[in-house]
Structure formats: C-alpha cells, structure tokens
C-alpha cells in the first residue's frame, strides 16, 4: 500500500475510533473510587442575591449519550420498580417522564438528586438502596424517555409489550423550567 493510502486509512480509522469512544465506553465500577451523588443540586428556583446556579456536574457527560449506561438504566428502571409508578414514561402513581414537564428539574444531576433524596409527594428516597452509579444510569435512561439523548446511544428495543414508539424514533421534548410544587 502506498504511504499516502496508508496514512489516510490510519487517519480515517482514528477518527472513527474517537467518534465511538464515549458512546461505547464501558465503566464497570466508577473510577477510581465509586461514584457519589451530586452535592448542592437545586431544582430550578430563585437563587437570591445574585447567586449563581451550581455548575453542571461533570459526571453527567460520562453517562449521557453512553450506550451501556442507558441500557443498564433501562434494565434497572424495570427491576427497581420505577415502571410500577411511572409506567414506561406515561406515569400512574408517579408523574409522566416522557413529557416536557419536570417538577424538580430535568438535568442529569437534578434527576439523580430526585432519585437519591426522594420528593414530598411520594417519590421514595433511594440513597442507600441503589449505588450512585446505578442512579446515574437510571437518570440517563429517564432522559431518553423524552428524547434528550442522542439517537445512536439509546436502546432500539423495549424489554416488554410494545407500547411507546421505539426510543430511536421519539421526538425530543423541550425541558420546561420546573413547576412550583403542586398539591
């Protein structure tokens, strides 16, 4: 093979490799210590006295758009009975997760905080019952229910009776700012 040919082939391979990097990176146990939940996360609310909202948690990027995390989150969503209250995004005992309404915020760290701390109208507090890594994985999956994540990272197939259209074909819902606590 000519030098030119080989070089372009190498360059192409490198680019292709890098593009799939984050999507396929499999992190079996958090690095180097296990994961922790985000600290000081607030739902979208008043921050008095020119206070700034906390910077987005860097760990969100590690789990967002990451195919193994979303897939594991999908398994955990059913196994930890999230679907018992939230169905497959439509809601029931708990509110719908596939729409644009987020009571306590729809960012990755806000969702993890809701899972860990629980919420006043009946969302259980899972800190201590799930590892933080599992909560990040579930949060990544919850965001795919409203189409927030890239379509090449989401699971194309549900694990149960077909109900909603496959996630690869869901329109992305905007995230409205959190509503004030309803009754």
């Amino acid at each position: 093979m000519s030098l030119h040919c080989r070089n372009s082939l190498l360059a192409f391979a490198l680019v292709a490799l890098l593009a799939g990097c984050n999507r396929e990176e499999r992190n079996s146990r958090g690095k180097p210590l296990a994961e922790t939940a985000p600290g000081m996360v607030t739902p979208d609310t008043i921050l008095p006295g020119n206070a700034r909202p906390s910077a987005p948690d860097p760990r969100a990027a590690q789990y967002e758009n990451n195919a193994p995390s979303i897939s594991q989150g999908q398994t955990l969503f059913a196994q930890m009975n999230c679907s018992g209250c939230h169905s497959h995004g439509g809601g029931g005992m708990g509110p719908a997760l596939m729409d644009a309404k987020w009571r306590y915020g729809g960012r990755m760290d806000q969702i993890v905080a809701s899972i860990a701390e629980g919420r006043p109208n009946g969302m259980p507090a899972w800190r201590g019952k799930l590892t933080e890594q599992q909560m990040w994985q579930i949060a990544a999956y919850v965001r795919t229910l409203s189409g927030q994540e890239r379509k090449d990272a989401v699971s194309a197939r549900a694990d149960e009776m077909s109900n909603t259209p496959p996630q690869t074909q869901i329109e992305r819902e905007p995230i409205e700012s959190a509503e004030s606590g309803q009754q």
Binding site: S28, R29, A34, G128, K129, L130
Partner: protein, 339 residues
C-alpha cells in the same frame, strides 16, 4: 526414532486427561450422556471401518494404476476379469454400506427410545431460569409451600428422573452439564425442557453454552448428584428459613443487608429482604461457589466478592458498593450464617 515414537504416543494421552473430570462430555454419568457415548462409539466404529475400507480401496486402486501404467494395451480378457471383479466389489460395497447404515439407524433408534422411556417415569421437576449471568433454580412441587428456590447449584438424587423446564429472563442461554446430558437452549418468551437421569453420584460442572454477553464464560453451574437420603436432607435444609443472627457482628451485618443495597436485589427467606432480581441467598453459605462459578466459596473470596464484584466479574449486574471496612466485616459474618 524412539523419541518421536514417544512423542506420538504421549500426544493423545495428553488429550485423554480432558476425559477425566467433572465437565466431561465423555463422562457418561447420566442416562442421556451414557446413551450418547454408546451411540458415538457405534458411529465411530462403523464409520472407522468404512473409512479404513475406503482407504484400503484407494490404496489398491493407486497400486493398480501404477501397474496398469506399465502395460499400454487393454487386454480383452483382462478387461472382462476386472469388470467382473468391479461388479462383485460394487455389490459387496453396497451391501456393506447398507449394513452399516442399518446398524447406525438401529443404534440411533434404541438410543432415542432409552432417552424417551425415562420421561415416562415421574420424578423431580425443576424450573431453571437463565439470567445474565446466573441461574435461578426452582424445585417445583405439587404442594407450593414445599418448593425451594436457590441459585447456581443443583442437587439431584441418583437414579431419579428429572424434568427440567428452561426459561430465560433476557437473552438466549444454553444449559449444558456434559457429564449428564447434552445442551438445551433457554429462549426468552419460550419454554424448553430437558430430561436428566443421573446414574452415578458425584459433583459435576455445568456451563452456559450459548454466548449471552460479556460474562458468558463465568456462568457456570454446580450439579451434585447424591444418594436419595442425602438429597432429602439437603432439600429440608433448603426449605428452612435463614437462622436469626446471634453475635453482634452478625446482627450488624443483618441490619446492613436488610436496610441497604443488598435487599434491593437479593432475598433471604425469613428476613425482610425480599429482592427477586438477584440470586436467592437464603442458603448461600452452603454452596460451592460464588458468582455462578466465578470463585470458590470461602471467607477470603466472600470478602473479595462483596467488596468489589466488578473486579472479578466486570459487567455483571452486582454493582461495586463503596462500604466501610466494618460494614464489610459484619456483612461477611452474616453471610456465613446463611447455611
């Protein structure tokens, strides 16, 4: 020359070592595998004989060709002689093939019949559900309150036919205990089954035989075939709920197990921990291995497994839980009481 000869003899002996042991398709400790071995040997013998005859015939033909090359003309008499000989040879060969195929068919028929006859006797019923990457084992009884749920280890009484129903919770797995029987797939959405009739006692090793994900290689199964009385004793022990913790360390471990992450997935009968998505741990300390054959069960491995399962079986569903050393001590102390 002698050294080469020695090597030639030693080579197959090396292979024979694989024939011993507890994960051995030539073991024949079960009716199905014994039938399979007999059938295999019959096929081997018949086909070997035919093969050698073919080789012999080829050898003769090659030598004849060499001889024929020296004479150019085709002798009229010689031609008739060879054609007659060819006709005889063909008749004999066809006869041999017919006999051979008949032997194979008959052997196959008797082998199938022997396998099928065992299903007519009633015996034990098991349901095994494959998960990534562990086996859920349920002993089905007509009295539902006498059913036993365990994981990754099966005890069977010798000479009792077993009907195993196979299901899967996620992807296709395959149930394979080579010493006892052949393979059978576990297919999600379907129910398959397999019959076992263990004929000799012993400890055998099973394996998942269909690629099912990143830890397919660590999805093993222990099958212990024992006398009926031992089996009954084991079954009665499995039916009992877990004993209450006694020492302070065990009680701390019990509290951690029941209130923290463990009970989200695992079940210990007699305690509030009722998780159904992971292996049942009520009698985990009486098993031979942890993690579906990943590690032999002993105190050190328990520590290692609970502290960081992802380093032993990366990608498995049990997460690495960051815990204080004293929690780890108390958990292991509690787990060891679950005999």
């Amino acid at each position: 020359m002698t050294r080469l000869a020695h090597r030639l003899i030693a080579l197959p002996l090396g292979f024979l070592s694989a024939c011993a042991g507890n994960q051995n398709a030539m073991g024949g400790q079960g009716l199905e595998s014994a039938n399979f071995i007999v059938l295999f040997l019959v096929f081997l013998a018949v086909c070997a004989v035919m093969y050698l005859l073919v080789l012999a015939g080829l050898g003769i033909a090659l030598r004849r060709r060499r001889d024929a090359g020296q004479a150019n003309s085709v002798d009229e008499d010689r031609h008739e002689e060879t054609s007659a000989r060819t006709k005889v040879a063909l008749i004999v060969w066809t006869g041999l093939v017919t006999v051979g195929l008949t032997i194979l068919t008959v052997a196959s028929f008797f082998s199938d019949r022997s396998n099928a006859s065992s299903t007519r006797r009633s015996g034990l019923a098991l349901t095994i559900t494959g998960n990534q990457w562990w086996w859920n084992v349920q002993y089905d009884t007509s009295d539902p309150s006498a059913s036993v749920r365990t994981a990754n280890e099966i005890h069977l009484p010798v000479n009792v036919p077993v009907h195993v129903t196979l299901k899967s919770n996620d992807v296709i797995h395959s149930f394979w205990v080579p010493n006892l029987a052949g393979k059978q797939d576990l297919i999600p959405g379907r129910q398959t089954d397999i019959e076992l009739l263990p004929r000799r006692t012993g400890v055998f090793h099973g394996q998942c035989a269909e690629f099912c994900g990143v830890q397919h290689t660590r999805m093993a199964l222990d099958v212990i075939v024992e006398p009926l009385d031992d089996f009954r004793r084991w079954y009665a022990q499995q039916l009992a709920t877990a004993p209450a913790p006694t020492t302070r360390l065990q009680m701390a471990g019990y509290r951690y197990f029941v209130t923290r992450e463990c009970s989200s997935c695992h079940n210990v009968a007699g305690s509030p921990a009722g998780g159904q998505i992971g292996p049942d741990l009520t009698h985990v300390a009486s098993r031979r291995s942890i993690g579906a054959g990943t590690l032999p069960l002993n105190r050190g491995n328990l520590y290692g497994w609970i502290a960081d399962p992802q380093s032993h079986k990366p990608g498995s569903r049990m997460p690495t839980i960051p815990m204080e050393p004293r929690d780890l001590h108390s958990l292991v102390a509690y787990i060891e009481t679950l005999k």
